[in-house]
């Protein structure tokens, strides 16, 4: 691992913070260290979640439950969902990149509350251990990541309680992170930097953090009530004791629908950072992008019951939530076309970061289309709780968020480590990830439309061939991790030196050394008021000039 030997700094010379590689295992207050802690910790959980997902696909390669017992299958699918959502995507798109980039983008030396930041990170490993160890000690929870009662009340209690404790810890970590991001973006901007001059990822993180702060506490409260139902035998959500299971669903989805935006809005922001740099064009439609994000935040809070169309929802509620959900396609579509317009006519370097970003755009539009379809009540009732929903969901969170995480790793790895990744391996990684992902999840649309229910270890033998195709795709996805891991480790040890700004980017994190010093910039923080000032918009087209990279960059001076 390459680690910055940072020049002795005035601010951090108290000697309390460890230096060298040890700081990655310490209660470091440096936002860059914490960001990488989130990233590596999240990736370890991605591998664990991937093994669990692989186990599911092995089981489903044959129509009978021959690979594991049915209750073990339930535990595996519960752990797979919980690990991937709460320990991989949410911490990485928010915690990892947010912590690393946001202080740079606002021109600050660190986050607003560095100590709270470290606390938020260090809540994650214990929560993850609690969750994983529940499988070995008591048997893990069996009620899926949604933990719907009465299922979560009637399945073995110990695993469910450990699951609740773990999610409460992760929710707390998420709330602390959200508070920190809001304070950093709104309060720590350097003087002279206006909100509408911030890089798009700041807006995405602001919107996401608002969702985190407003919705996560509701989930926490709900899970506390659920734990009362399990431990103290109260009847909040237990119909046999006079309770109401649908109220749990409402409260759960009040968090868990915004959770989808908590996973995907930061990914939108990251793509908006990556594309302009590698296309040498300004981000198209900055203002419309900002308003789209904020519209998604507002609408995202009032669409939750579209998960509950089959839960005895009254007709007026179905109507309202169908319309509200369909409306989300508008701001999302605006963002989608903005990315296309950013690519349009740009001088695109088709490197791994751009390939993964384009993969994201393709996958996400497919997931978006099935999302609009699922918002329509008649269609939703037909495919509810089938593999169609599984396919849609994975197109959003894997095809969307995870592709962007990989794009971002390829884009910012030179900044993290000071070394370049191997491009050929990166493109190979993209190719088998993209093929494997689509092979795995595209056939599941068909499975769902034809009535294969989700969360079952056994199915009708007529679905065998399609399930086996899907499992082959999963195998490819598993294999795709190997070139990536090799690339990351190998390049950290002996990759070519990246230099400060290998992509010739304009955002502030590139205007410092790679990896950056503890205080981010050795001098004053640069005031970047035009983070996407690529190309020469105000001058008439001059082919000779636009093909010259130095004059492109020079044009950003005002």
């Amino acid at each position: 691992m390459t680690v910055a030997i940072s020049p002795p700094s005035k601010k951090q010379s108290d000697g309390l913070q460890p230096t060298g590689w040890l700081r990655y295992f310490s209660f470091s207050l440096d936002h860059k260290v914490i960001g990488l802690q989130y990233l590596v910790c999240g990736f370890i959980f991605y591998l664990i979640g991937g093994v669990l997902g692989g186990a599911i696909r092995i089981e489903l390669a044959s129509p009978i439950a021959d690979f594991m017992a049915r209750d073990v299958y339930n535990q595996v699918l519960t752990l797979h969902g919980t690990v991937m959502i709460f320990l991989w995507i949410v911490p990485v798109v928010n915690g990892a990149f947010g912590n690393y980039l946001i202080p740079f983008y606002v021109g600050a030396r660190d986050m607003a509350f560095p100590r709270l930041n470290a606390v938020a990170f260090w809540m994650i490993p214990p929560a993850g251990l609690l969750l994983i160890s529940s499988y070995f000690i008591t048997g893990a929870a069996q009620s899926g990541w949604t933990a719907y009662p009465p299922l979560s009340i009637t399945t073995p209690a110990a695993g469910q309680i450990l699951w609740i404790l773990s999610v409460l810890l992760l929710g707390g970590s998420s709330i602390f992170g959200g508070i920190n991001f809001i304070a950093t973006i709104l309060k720590l901007r350097q003087p002279g930097l206006k909100l509408m001059q911030l890089p798009m990822y700041c807006w995405a993180m602001l919107g996401t953090s608002i969702l985190v702060v407003l919705s996560t506490p509701v989930l926490a409260g709900t899970l506390v009530l659920l734990s009362f139902d399990i431990v103290a035998h109260t009847g909040f959500f237990n119909p046999s004791l006079g309770g109401n299971a649908v109220v749990y669903q409402h409260l759960f989805w009040f968090y868990s629908h915004p959770a989808v935006y908590i996973m995907v809005l930061p990914a939108f922001g990251l793509v908006s950072e990556i594309l302009p740099v590698h296309c040498r064009k300004p981000l198209f439609g900055y203002t419309s992008m900002v308003y789209s994000i904020m519209t998604i935040v507002l609408l995202g809070l009032v669409v939750w019951a579209h998960h509950m169309f089959t839960s005895g929802t009254p007709p007026w509620m179905r109507l309202f939530f169908t319309i509200a959900t369909s409306f989300i396609a508008v701001p999302t579509g605006i963002k989608f076309f903005n990315w296309l317009a950013t690519l349009w006519g740009g001088r695109i370097s088709l490197n791994s970061a751009v390939l993964f970003s384009c993969g994201f755009i393709v996958n996400f539009v497919l997931g978006g289309i099935t999302g609009v379809a699922l918002a329509q009540v008649p269609f939703d009732i037909h495919v509810h709780d089938t593999y169609f929903v599984v396919a849609h969901f994975h197109y959003i969170v894997y095809g969307g968020s995870v592709f962007v995480i990989f794009a971002s790793i390829y884009h910012w790895y030179p900044k993290f480590t000071g070394r370049m990744l191997n491009e050929s391996l990166g493109r190979f990684h993209f190719l088998i990830t993209f093929i494997g992902f689509n092979l795995c999840f595209a056939p599941q649309h068909w499975l769902g439309l034809n009535g294969m229910p989700r969360r079952v270890a056994e199915y009708d033998p007529q679905f065998t061939v399609i399930n086996q195709i899907s499992s082959v795709g999963a195998l490819l996805m598993a294999i795709s991790t190997l070139p990536f891991l090799w690339n990351v480790v190998q390049s950290a040890l002996s990759g070519p030196i990246a230099g400060d700004n290998p992509w010739k980017a304009l955002t502030p994190e590139w205007l410092t050394s790679s990896p950056p010093p503890v205080e981010n910039w050795s001098g004053k923080a640069p005031l970047v008021t035009e983070p996407y000032g690529y190309g020469v918009p105000e001058e008439p087209l001059n082919l000779e000039k636009t093909s010259n990279i130095d004059s492109d960059l020079g044009s950003k001076s005002e």
Binding site: V213, V218, G221, G242, L527
Partner: protein
């Protein structure tokens, strides 16, 4: 690696520009109150979830015929008065600190903590005299869960007040007229807890 003279040049220029704007950006201004307020929004959402759940239960799930769920008004009304008065006394403590009247400040803080303890005692009395228990029926469970969660907040707040009171006793201590963050933070939190109680009182006792 090609060199980028233009960037370096701009970078310096921009840094100088940032320099001119203000020095204040370098040293952290105090954003702790902002952070606390954001946290209280989150905390308030937990209560909002509980309140909405309770109201939905009331609207949708009728109480079973043999279930016992009756609340008396006198004690909770006294509790409401106690908390509202404690908000006022805490405010007086803050004003006294700003005027640098340490003795006054300590007296008001002490009274506030006493009112908090009185609230908790009165709440315990109510718990032990109510004719229903935690698991008796749906409304009873919700009542105990939500008032208990609020009581936990009052307990934490009272402990905070006692800590602030203790720290303000020594003249060179951590709570002075220059450093009033601990007192202000505890005060904001206390007002929040009182506000939640008023909503809770209306929803659970008056509706």
């Amino acid at each position: 690696m090609t060199s980028l003279p233009t960037i370096d040049h701009d970078y310096q220029e921009q840094a100088d520009l940032a320099d001119k704007h203000a020095e204040t950006g370098e040293e952290h201004a105090d954003h702790r109150m902002f952070g606390l307020a954001t946290f209280l929004v989150a905390d308030g959402m937990t209560f909002a979830g509980f309140f909405v759940a309770y109201l939905t239960f009331r609207a949708v799930n009728p109480l079973l015929p043999d279930a016992v769920y009756e609340l008396e008004l006198p004690l909770p009304t006294l509790n409401t008065v106690l908390l509202l008065v404690s908000s006022a006394t805490f405010h007086r403590a803050g004003q006294a600190l700003k005027r640098n009247q340490s003795g006054q400040c300590q007296r008001w803080l002490f009274i506030t903590a006493g009112l908090g303890l009185a609230f908790l005692t009165s709440q315990m009395v109510e718990y032990f005299t109510l004719p229903f228990g935690l698991t008796d029926n749906l409304y009873a469970s919700t009542f105990y869960a939500v008032t208990g969660f609020h009581g936990l907040h009052v307990t934490l707040g009272t402990i905070m007040i006692l800590i602030v009171w203790w720290q303000s006793r020594s003249p060179g201590g951590r709570v002075t007229s220059e450093n009033h963050f601990p007192l202000e933070a505890a005060e904001l939190y206390w007002h929040f807890v009182d506000g939640i109680w008023v909503i809770l009182f209306i929803i659970f006792y008056l509706l």
